[in-house]
């Protein structure tokens, strides 16, 4: 394993330092917390938005802090949900009195830690609400299990939440539109090569030279099926088939598209994926309104990508395309 780092234990805090120094006008780092907040937080009269999760998904989540998106991002250790203390600090830092919405990806760790933080914040008299994102169609959706994971679709959720909050909507209104978004976003990913955690020093799983893993999660946890390598066309067809086949898409829908690189798949290949996807959308009568192609929710140095579709309505489209100014997402 070759990583550009000093001691692996320090990679997260040093990364956060570097990030805060790269965007001094936009971000500030709360000392010793792993929390990046909007420089001007708390923003008067605005609902505060907090997200976060394990590190290793850069630019998520710190890259989405700024005008029109998040107020704070909480960074846990690599692939480890942040702790309630950290999350509480973020909630406190962004609450302007209008309350705080936490956008949480559906992983046991994230859910439990955000839940505990919300209890602590509520005890301090802060209004806190929580929305759980679970866009990964690779995972069976059943009330008896952990349910679907939150993956790259979360970025579009951040965007819409941010736009709504920026309009001065109430906590209840923001939460409603976010829940609506969550119900309309679907994703699925594939890994060509595994990732390596800085502290582990070994790939988190192994794939044969001709093998790929479908339905991979963003923590490098193994996916749902293995197959031999496929040409881009067949691969995109397979992933997007599951995504489109899932609940909410119908002919005539307008959709937002996110082609997300997992970390070490070059942009060149992501654009090839995008080309295939656009073709499939048109075959399915779906109109792509706006596309984002790049690295938005990575898994360290994993090779692969995910595809996200968000079924729009008038309000969501307008919110999605309204201005945002964050390090990693600008509209």
């Amino acid at each position: 394993m070759k990583k550009v780092m000093n001691q692996p234990e320090h990679i997260v805090s040093q990364m956060l330092d570097g990030m805060a120094q790269a965007y001094p006008e936009r971000l500030r780092l709360l000392e010793e917390t792993g929390v990046l907040v909007r420089r001007d937080a708390p923003v008067n009269g605005k609902v505060g938005l907090v997200s976060g999760g394990g590190s290793g998904h850069e630019p998520a989540h710190g890259g989405y802090v700024g005008k029109g998106m998040l107020d704070a991002a909480v960074a846990g250790e690599v692939f480890t949900s942040p702790t309630p203390d950290q999350i509480l600090k973020a909630i406190q830092a962004v609450d302007s009195g209008e309350g705080v919405l936490c956008i949480v990806k559906n992983y046991t760790g994230d859910v439990l830690n955000f839940e505990m933080a919300a209890e602590l914040a509520a005890a301090e008299g802060i209004q806190v609400e929580q929305v759980i994102v679970h866009d990964d169609v690779a995972v069976e959706d059943s009330t008896h299990t952990t349910g679907r994971r939150g993956i790259a679709g979360t970025v579009l959720v951040h965007k819409i939440a941010g736009a709504k909050a920026e309009q001065g909507a109430s906590l209840k209104e923001v939460k409603e539109v976010v829940e609506e978004t969550v119900s309309r976003v679907r994703s699925m990913g594939v890994a060509l090569e595994p990732c390596t955690l800085p502290e582990a020093g070994q790939p988190s799983f192994t794939l044969g030279t001709d093998e790929i893993e479908l339905g991979i999660g963003i923590h490098g946890e193994p996916g749902v099926a293995r197959t031999e390598q496929l040409p881009a066309e067949a691969l995109v067809k397979r992933l997007s088939g599951k995504v489109i086949g899932d609940l909410p898409f119908e002919r005539g829908d307008r959709v937002a598209v996110l082609v997300n690189g997992m970390g070490s798949t070059p942009l060149m290949e992501l654009h090839v994926v995008h080309r295939e996807l656009i073709e499939i959308l048109s075959e399915n009568g779906l109109t792509p309104v706006q596309a984002w192609v790049g690295e938005y929710m990575t898994s360290l140095d994993m090779a692969g990508f995910s595809i996200t579709l968000l079924k729009l309505n008038k309000e969501l489209e307008q919110l999605l395309l309204s201005e945002s100014d964050t390090p990693a997402f600008r509209v």
């Binding site: 394990g54 952990t146 502290e199 988190s204 490098g220 749902v224």
Partner: protein
């Protein structure tokens, strides 16, 4: 168990975790995200440091562990272990020492904490599969009139068996659940760290027994 034993237990367990970090990482890599070793090591190293200046009583020692794990571990295991020790700390309020008859209730509190926090039941291939059987085992052993060391030895044994038995289960909770049937054949990392916890308790008490005899 008094506060001295509890401290020795936690300190020993911190050492065990530091030694077995790679094992836990390996188990978690197979069916999770490979951080359980680092998570536990980070948390228990912090516990060890906090304990150095700790002078409180038995319940406080458990509270210190709970707070430290909650604030340092993260992941699923942080809140879960944190809740276990919090509930135990509550159950220990006002007591300076406990004996074989108290263990069942203490473990019951811990196990319930996990069940509530994790919305988990038995057979879902988690640490709860270990915790859930311990209260009754403690109860039965105490009723047989065994002493604390014997009881704890029994707990350690059962914990080990139950942890190993998770290998053949299919996960329906936690990160391993995403694997479905492919989770079968791998031991649950949280169950393993729980088994190590009770083994550390056993050897702590055994050493103390030895030391007591020498005195």
């Amino acid at each position: 168990m008094d506060v001295t034993v509890a401290k020795a237990w936690f300190q020993r367990y911190a050492d065990v975790i530091s030694e077995e970090k790679a094992l836990l990482t390996r188990l978690d890599s197979a069916i999770g995200d490979g951080d359980h070793g680092a998570n536990m090591a980070r948390g228990w190293k912090a516990v060890q440091e906090e304990l150095e200046s700790f002078t409180g009583g038995l319940s406080d020692a458990f509270l210190l562990v709970s707070r430290t794990l909650i604030s340092k571990v993260g992941g699923a295991s942080g809140p879960l272990y944190g809740t276990v020790f919090l509930r135990m700390s509550m159950a220990l309020k006002g007591k300076e020492t406990i004996d074989e008859t108290d263990w069942s209730n203490l473990l019951q509190q811990g196990a319930e904490g996990i069940a509530q926090r994790g919305k988990v039941t038995g057979g879902e291939k988690t640490m709860y599969d270990v915790w859930s059987v311990l209260p009754q085992a403690a109860e039965e052993t105490a009723q047989q009139g065994e002493d604390e060391l014997t009881l704890v030895t029994r707990l350690a044994q059962i914990a080990r068996e139950k942890a190993d038995a998770t290998q053949e289960m299919k996960a329906t909770k936690g990160r391993a659940a995403y694997l479905g049937d492919r989770s079968i054949g791998h031991k649950d990392p949280g169950a393993e760290s729980t088994a190590l916890l009770f083994d550390a308790l056993r050897s702590t008490l055994a050493d103390k027994g030895g030391a007591d005899h020498e005195n």
